[in-house]
């Protein structure tokens, strides 16, 4: 036993089973629910979009890493981004736009900033914002869910759009919104499926429950204060998807739980303001991007309470 040189490594010599790969594949697992919903409601074309998105995202990441002479790792983060990008796009988006989206999300929003962990803005949402502004014309076709048992009750307009009308009772409308029987972005319509995915993330301690709760809660409360139907406001549009999957992205949100709560409340306020006063029908994407921009400032000022500092500060003040 003396011949082999011993390994000299720093402590701790024991590591947990967390790994980036594990985190990302768990997110993908959670995303399977809303993704399945997207395919069920909007048809197999969504599957095509997913394939194109994932493939192009991975290839672009590979290319970027090669150009930067950095090791390429299949850590799954590009796949998460690619799936989320498809889920926030209209279900009949042209495939070339999906490729452009991958280019923006992976090449611009992620690799230009340094790759996984260094990006400031949520790549999937940055790409969505970019393509919707750029190709607004090509992306304004919304379709009704193909399997909708209630399809004749709602128009093809998305629930938050001005032209949305419905002939259902309120209760039926809520049910349609909760199950996902309305038109909208591919993966955002079914609050139920997103909730299942979100609970998986919470159960594996990947995200903090505070983020979705404060985000959705703020929207409900503020909408109610401003005289809107709070239940409708939280179920319609992409709020659930944003709250569970995007406002909880590690990289682009604050580090501490208190910071995350500030982020969530800020995003909630912004969504409501954008929906009510802005010309955008929906504000989830922009609210998260805006709060992403504030994240470094939040992190700078919101630190955990340092052990043993409570008394010190009081003394210093006195």
């Amino acid at each position: 036993m003396d011949n082999k040189p011993l390994v000299l490594s720093p402590s701790p010599h024991l590591r947990g089973r967390n790994s980036i790969k594990r985190d990302m594949y768990l997110v993908i697992l959670a995303l399977l629910f809303p993704t399945a919903g997207a395919v069920y409601f909007f048809g197999l074309y969504v599957l095509l979009m997913l394939a194109v998105s994932i493939l192009s995202a991975v290839l672009i990441e590979y290319g970027a890493k090669m150009m930067r002479r950095r090791p390429f790792r299949m850590d799954g983060s590009a796949i998460v981004t690619a799936i989320l990008f498809v889920l926030v796009m209209p279900p009949r988006s042209p495939l070339w736009i999906v490729v452009v989206g991958s280019l923006i999300s992976i090449a611009v929003a992620k690799e230009m900033f340094g790759g996984l962990g260094h990006n400031i803005f949520n790549p999937a949402l940055a790409a969505r914002a970019f393509v919707t502004v750029s190709f607004a014309g090509a992306l304004s076709h919304w379709i009704a869910p193909v399997h909708s048992m209630l399809a004749d009750g709602v128009t093809t307009a998305t629930p938050l759009s001005e032209s949305f009308t419905y002939t259902l009772s309120k209760g039926e409308l809520y049910k349609a919104l909760f199950l996902g029987n309305v038109s909208g972005s591919a993966g955002e319509t079914s609050a139920l499926l997103i909730l299942i995915g979100g609970l998986i993330l919470i159960a594996f301690r990947l995200i903090k429950w505070q983020v979705p709760v404060f985000y959705i809660g703020t929207v409900a409360l503020l909408s109610w204060v401003l005289g809107k139907d709070p239940l409708f406001q939280i179920l319609a549009g992409g709020l659930f998807l944003g709250a569970f999957f995007m406002a909880a992205d590690y990289v682009t949100t604050p580090l501490t739980t208190r910071g995350k709560v500030i982020f969530a409340v800020g995003a909630g306020v912004l969504v409501t303001i954008i929906r009510i006063y802005g010309s955008m029908p929906e504000g989830v994407c922009y609210s998260i991007l805006l709060m992403n921009a504030f994240t470094p400032l939040i992190d700078r000022h919101v630190h955990p309470r340092v052990f043993g500092m409570v008394k010190r500060t009081k003394k210093e003040v006195a």
Binding site: M112, F113, I120, A126, A129, G278, F294, P296
Partner: protein, 191 residues
């Protein structure tokens, strides 16, 4: 009162000087590396904008317009701004060195900051009343400060990032500005 608020809000967020109006870009990229200097610069710009708007408005409406020499507005406005900035700089430099180090060194840059002359032109083009002009300047200045602050926070974090070499520094700041601009689209139509 309500209208004043709208003018302020519109200038700060919707028509943000940097992201929507393309004014004051040089200091935006030049002075946003550190939060401390960004805040100082932002405050200095805000102050100069307020004072310049308050001074140029009466000059325009009580001198230039009555004599029909609106064409002189560029010359007169910039003369007033340049002199003002110089006086303020001198005053700070000689009375309070700490304040000068924190704020004063940015003052000379402000003379050549398009945002300041820009806001006086905007006041004239939009036919703002005196108070509207002042609130517009306050909004524009606050919007400038806000975006500068956000940018500096981001750039401080990017310091620690593995940004590709060719993108380090200003190029990635431009890319960030693009994404920031996209996010600020959220405020579109809100006035």
């Amino acid at each position: 009162m309500n209208n004043l608020f709208v003018v302020f809000f519109s200038m700060a967020l919707v028509n943000n000087m940097i992201l929507a109006k393309f004014l004051g870009l040089c200091p935006f990229f030049g002075v946003s590396k550190k939060t401390k200097s960004a805040v100082s610069m932002g405050i200095a710009v805000l102050l100069v904008m307020l004072i310049s708007s308050a001074v140029t408005w009466p000059i325009y409406y009580y001198i230039l317009v009555p004599y029909g020499v609106e064409v002189m507005k560029t010359v007169i406005f910039i003369l007033v701004i340049a002199s003002l900035v110089q006086i303020i700089e001198m005053a700070i430099k000689r009375t309070n060195v700490t304040l000068y180090n924190a704020l004063g060194i940015y003052l000379p840059l402000i003379t050549t900051n398009c945002a300041v002359l820009g806001i006086t032109f905007i006041n004239v083009n939009q036919v703002y009343s005196f108070w509207e002009a002042v609130f517009a300047a306050g909004g524009a200045g606050s919007g400038f400060l806000l975006v500068l602050l956000i940018m500096s926070g981001i750039r401080e974090r990017l310091e620690f990032s593995d940004t590709p070499k060719a993108f380090k520094g200003t190029p990635i700041a431009f890319i960030t500005a693009m994404l920031l601009g996209l996010s600020f689209l959220a405020f579109k139509g809100m006035v």
